[in-house]
Each structure stands twice: as structure tokens, then as C-alpha cells.
Point group: C2
Chain length 251, copies 2
Amino acid sequence: MSESPFRVRPGHAAATPGASMSGPEAEERVVSAVVEAILGHRIAPGTRLIERELASYAGASRSAIRNGLLTLAHAGLVELSPNKGATIAMCSPGEARQIFEARIVIEAAVLDIVAHTLNDAGRARLDAFIDEESTAYEAGRMEEARHLSRRFHLLVAELSGNDVLTGFVRDLINRQPLLSWTREARKSRFCGNEAHQRIADALARGDGAEAARLNTEHLRELERELRTDRDSAIKSVGGDEAGQDPRPRPA
Amino acid sequence: MSESPFRVRPGHAAATPGASMSGPEAEERVVSAVVEAILGHRIAPGTRLIERELASYAGASRSAIRNGLLTLAHAGLVELSPNKGATIAMCSPGEARQIFEARIVIEAAVLDIVAHTLNDAGRARLDAFIDEESTAYEAGRMEEARHLSRRFHLLVAELSGNDVLTGFVRDLINRQPLLSWTREARKSRFCGNEAHQRIADALARGDGAEAARLNTEHLRELERELRTDRDSAIKSVGGDEAGQDPRPRPA
DNA sequence: TCCATCAAGATTGTTGACAATCTATTCATT
DNA sequence: AATGAATAGATTGTCAACAATCTTGATGGA
């Protein structure tokens, strides 16, 4: 059996089939494990999720797993088909376009709100965040940098003070890795935090329109990069996909 | 509570405790029954939903009910507390404000998209819808009119061609009745479809900015009306709930 | 009268087993 | 060899019973 794509969280023992450490946390544990696996590009879209495997991994019952899968399905991260089970969601190019469009318009609105309401505490949070992000980039810690790069957009949403919009942004960001599976370890030339730095500067000046414009440009750049990745993946048909480690379980 | 707030759908027999007409539809039936009950103002926020009651009503097992409640919780319509069960969600004034804000910004973006992409077929759908809505209003069929009034905003979202944004708008609209429980049967002076008519006209002209402006004004009017309702409800009932914590979201 | 304590009932949470369905392999036929 | 049917295995869907927890009402004392 291949390596599990799910990462064991500190403080939690790995799957011990006998130990039924169930509880309200079990469902949450499965959800966050799958989310982390998706965000870390350790699990491919289309991978089938088998209830009993997840159950034994998480040391939970199938009921908890089912609840977790329902939660993930609502967040758009897994697809459920009756009698056929759950798979990691696959986004068609059309869906990818819609997700980017949604991010562009919602984040533009959020940035406009933040530009009008940002206080000193928020400005400090933004500054500290940008520092942390650029430090991670310069140190070459790409995994952490990618994580922080996603977190930036979430932080801006949080600064708007609107939990509803923040939840939408979080869902959209979590689906991002599903759009560009191949972009795993490649160092993106657009994912640097210069764009984030400029957006934060515009926010600090109270210029919401400019911040929104920069963010839109930033996201369009990401989308363009994604499309070229997808195209190049098409021409190198089977080799690339089979060569990557995380494949659907052989089972 | 002697009378059930849930309306029996045509084609489905009422609860027959012995008949276990379960299936994949059972969950869906419960979900839509609760949604309809909320939309029809037949069930109050804070009402406790007891699994066994719902199960016997829907002729389904508790498992299906549980799944349905989870779905409703994800949509923000019910709140689940561990070991305490499910209640119809209650929105604090702060949450209500956030929901209106989210609707304003998302629908503005949607209107801008529609204004740039509307074709003849879409224009025809809008026209037909406005006719149907105004007919319902003039005939005094207020329940249908309220339904269509909500549907108008959903139709505009659908015309944008973006399923992601449409889903967000749908969730927000479905939560609307939770914000203004007291406004049940009252004929609102702002809920007429003149506003919708003007928005549709602006869309037909391709003037997205004006459509968004009109829609924002429309929603702010609704929110103001809601606040006066809530204030008058406070003086009659007296007990007002403190700020509720927002529901937990998937990580 | 008010408050703490406690017991009985009610409700949710969990488990395991069973039925229904799908999937993959095998095997017969053309 | 290719195709289609049948069978065995695997997986999901469902259910009823049991355990854990909460709620309600009563009881007794200050």
C-alpha cells in the first residue's frame, strides 16, 4: 500500500484500528486532514475517498466520516455521487473560470471595505504579515510561502469584519489547488509577494479602487499561468501524471 | 405546537410511522420542507428541531434527518450544538448587517456582469419574470409575490452564468426570512416590484453601474425596514438576544 | 420564598450489522 | 481476439438498539 496522503497532526496518534478515539473532534479531524492534503498538493483531484479507509485512518466511525464528507462536499472540495462514493472534486476549466471571477469580484468588494475601515491595528497586522511572507519567500521555504500567499487574501477578508464574505473567500481559496494540480512544486514568478505588498500599500493609503485593481490583475495573472500549465500538461499526456507520486490509491 | 409548520408536498403521503418510504429522497425532502417552512414564515428562528419528530414526519430514519440537518447547517439555516440538537438559526443584528452587506457587494458585481453579457434570451426571461411578479402583486397574492421577489435576485445571478456566485446569492437569500421574523404578513411598501422593474430596465440598457446602484438602494431600504421592525418588536416582546456567535465553518 | 440537589424522562451520539448497489474479474460465445 | 453476460468482491446506504448527555420537574433545606 502506498503512503497515505494525509499528514498526521501533532498530538494525534496515527491510525490505531483498535483505538476508537471518537468524538465530535473526529469529524473535524477528517475534514481538516483532507483540506490540508488538498492544500499541500498531496492528493489529486479525482482520487476516490473510501469511507472505511478514512475511518480507520482517523480512528473514527463511518458516521463521522460521512458527516465530514458532507461538509467537504458543501465546501466544493469533494464530490458525492449516490451509491458511488466520494472523490476529490475535479474542476472543469469552466468552473475554474467561475471561481476566479467570483474571487475577483468578492475580493474587490472586500478590499474596498477594508480601504475605508482600516485602523492602526489592522495596518499593523498587514505589515507584519507581509514581512513574514517575504521572509518565507526569501528563505526559499516555498511550502510555507504558498500557505501564506493564500492566507494573505483571507487576512484581507477578515479585516473587512464581515464573516459572511470571509467564509466565501475561504471556500474559494481552499478550492484553488483543485484548479491547477500540476503547479505543485514549481516556483511561480507571479506568486511572489510583490503583488501583495502593492495591494497592502494601496490599502494603507485608503485607495480601495487601486487595491482592487491590483488584486484583479494579480488574480488574472494567476489564472493565465494556470491555463498555460493546463495546456502544457495536455501535450505531455500520460507520463507527467503517472510520474507524480500522489496517485489514486492502487487498492 | 399542535400544527406542524411543515407543509406536505403534493404526491407525498404524510407521516405514516409504519411506512418506511426511505431513500435518497428522504433527506432532500426534509431539507426542502424546512427551507419552505422558513421561507413561508411558518417556523420561527430558535425553534428546536427534534430528530425523531422530523423522522416520523418525513417517514425517514434518523440518519437521513441528520444528514439533512447538516446540510441545512452548512447553508446557515439551522444551528447545531453538540448534544443539544438543532434549532432554526437566529441571526443577531450584526450578522444581519453582514448578510445585507454581502448581498449588496455580490449582487452589484453580478449586475455588472449581466449588464455586459445580457442577450435577447436573457432579456426575454427578465421581461417575462417582471410581468409575472407584477401580476402577482396586483392580484394581491402576497405569498407568491414574496416568493417571486426573492426569485428575482436569484434570476439575475443565474443570468450572470456564474454558478459559484449564484450559489452564494441563493444561500444569502434563503437566510433572509431569519432576519425579519416579524415581517410575516405585512405588505411592505418597498417590496413592490417597481424597484425590480427599474433594475431590469437598467440591465436592458447595459448600464451595470446604475443597476447596481438601484439594487444597493433597494437592499438598504429593506434593511432599514427590517431594523424598524426589530425595534418595534423589542418594545412589544422585551427580550432581545445578545450577539450570537457566528456558526463554525469548515477549516 | 429561594436555591441547590437529585432523579426520571427525553434527546442526541455512536456503533455494528445487514441490505442494496456498484465494480472488476472471469468465462462463455461469436 | 473481441464482446457481452454472470459472478464474486467491495463499497455505500440504511436501520435499530444502546450509551452518553442534556433537560425538566420535584424535593428538601436554609
